[in-house]
Amino acid sequence: MSKATVILSIFLVFALAAIGCHHPKPDVYVKPDDTFSVVGSVHEMNIYPEATPEFPEHQGKAEFISYCAICHSLRYVSTQPDFPAKTWQAEVDKMIHKYKAPIDSVTGAKIAAYLVAIKGKK
């Protein structure tokens, strides 16, 4: 192996290492150049796609998914920090009493328990 090759190899290793520790590229999931249009007097925006995050398996997941997603994307939950059980129960109660979600108290308790299981503050 020539001296030049050795030097080149060392530089290549450095270059690859630099790329390896580089800033992770954020996940960009919509390319919407065609999602907005103005035709005559009509302004129209296509319904934007929803990217539902993965949620862990746990009792109450089915209730959580079927009820909470009626009004809002489940990302509302995945972007929250961990909270004590009292806070999660208050959130479910808020959805039922203030926003009138059609959730009975048994189902509400299951949903709150699921939220505590996945984002409960120990």
Binding site: F14, A15, D27, H43, M45, R75, K98
Partner: protein
Amino acid sequence: MREKIFLFCFIAVAACLSLLSCDNPGAGNTAPTLVKFPEKKDMVLVTDRPPQLETPLKMLRMDITPNDYFFVRWHLSQIVTKIDIDTFRLRVGGATDNAVALSLNDLKTKFPQDSIVALAICAGNSRATFSPRVPGSQWNNGAMGNAKWKGVRLRDILLKAGIKQGAVDITFQGLDRAPLPATPTFVKALIVSHALDSDVLVAYEMNGQPLPMLNGYPLKLIVPGWYATYWVGELATINVLTDTFNGFWMKKAYQVPATGPNESPDNLAKNTVPISKINLHSIFVEPDTSEQVFANKPCLVEGLAFDDGTGIKKVELSFNNGKTWTDAILNPELGKYSWRRWKYTWTPKETGIYRLCVRATDNNGKTQPTRQWNRSGYARGFIEHLDVNVN
């Protein structure tokens, strides 16, 4: 041959250095999910239904926030996504002499036109930075933007309809609806004297362009100096009431302690009032955690200060966790309701971790507190700090 190898080595070294010196956040930083929604460039995704998009911090480093980077916040998920501007009408009714229905063309041709530079800031901006954390949309500092709004003074529209004697509140409603009919519709209210204030606009233009649909095309209420919860988008109905409006979004949601946006988690305030004016605050926009700072090299420290229109008198910075303070340079004022940019060229002498603090003082001499918390994460206004690792 030898020269070629040297040249190659030189390029390789340069490439390595450039890669090492650009964005390089600390380990454990999770990149935010960026998303491209209609008429928007890369925005931080908060929620997709309803759409809530945050402006990336780097896009707050300019006087005016571009429309395609302007934050998006809706409450109810059925926003209207198709509008025929020929049939759209803004309806003004209730306790008026004559109910009116105005087309966009009416607004552009039958009224005096006005424009204003004003900061739109979500009441819950910076919620994710409260400690202890509170539930709600988890915004960092990017639920705000500065824009030039053009439209018609609300006052002129109300005078055209004629407000009846005894009117108390004016309500504002957009076209957005909740999926469930029982969910309270998003309606906000201003008292008559505020609605007749010459600063309040019904805007059809934002930075010289029609509003993006996600920002409330075709009309948005602009309430300078007040939190953006009042800046109703897709504005279609204005109603004059002879009683106080008691709707959910005024009396239950968007409440702050009556004594100010501060309370203790162990002792929540009993009396609350609807949030209103923008609290005095200042933030850092540069450097951010992805940018490296070196000892004995000048580093630009930059940020924003803002309030309810009282005006920013000074912004001070500390590089030693509040022990000593020095004045930042204020950029020219863009209008009393605009944010005020500030900057300072800092040359740290030694390596290590520095805790920077920023505090603004308004024209009445009021300054920022060192601590603040409230259960909803509203009206952030205490002294911010920024830890900078100097290499």
